[in-house]
Amino acid sequence: MASFNRETLCIKIQTEDFDLTTEISALRQDHKNIGAVVSFVGTVRDMNEGDEVSVLELEHYAGMTEKSLEKIRLEAHQRWSLEASMIIHRVGKLLPSDQIVLVAVASQHRENAFHAAHFIMDYLKTNAPFWKKETLPNGDVRWVDSRVSDQEAAQRWAV
């Protein structure tokens, strides 16, 4: 459970891109009894609500972001038997097909890792203070609306 308390490694908010292999290797380090690693990568789609998207800009609430992500991560560790987990979320300007977010969970058995990664993403979507603003090819700029489906997804995990 070494990395369980290494908060600085488990939550990262950054403008730069991340490399999946590097991050998963770091996550697995010192945990020999891991049998399953589930990772989720969210990427910028080139379409939203029927419109082409040229640029996506991510704003966040520094300070609260880290705290809320760590709270979600620890909640996952309380609900499922996990060996390690991490969350990386990018902020700033992104382009279509860029990586936005990585959630990775390692456990002895796959069921726990699948549930925990899904849970973390659903909670992140509704509880972590990030906001997306998209620029269309004609120059129009608009804030992305929250989705009812995301609210419903998070509510399914209510205990």
């Binding site: 704003e59 979320h89 936005i100 509880n127 990030f130 906001w131």
Partner: protein, 88 residues
């Protein structure tokens, strides 16, 4: 001018920041709850009333934790107002 430690520090995010024309401000710590603070802000006029006071989807955080209109406030608190989050 109220100094930050004896005041309530307020932050506005995303479209709130744009509609209200500011990212942050300090107000006196004479407001005992978020609701009282919202009443003061609503008195500034239409955009404040619509974006915050009347907004059923208003999200509130006090000292980085999700809060509600009933959450009590004291000097030095950081209050943030923002629309529903859309990260991930």
């Amino acid at each position: 001018m109220t100094s930050r430690t004896s005041a309530i520090h307020i932050l506005y995010f995303a479209n709130f920041r744009e509609v209200l024309g500011q990212a942050e401000e300090n107000l006196p710590a004479t407001h005992n709850t978020v609701s009282e603070l919202l009443t003061t802000l609503a008195a500034r006029g239409e955009p404040w009333k619509v974006a915050l006071f009347d907004n059923e989807n208003l999200q509130i955080a006090v000292n980085h934790d999700i809060a509600s209109r009933e959450t009590p406030l004291k000097a030095g608190d950081e209050v943030a107002f923002f629309p529903p989050v859309t990260g991930g």
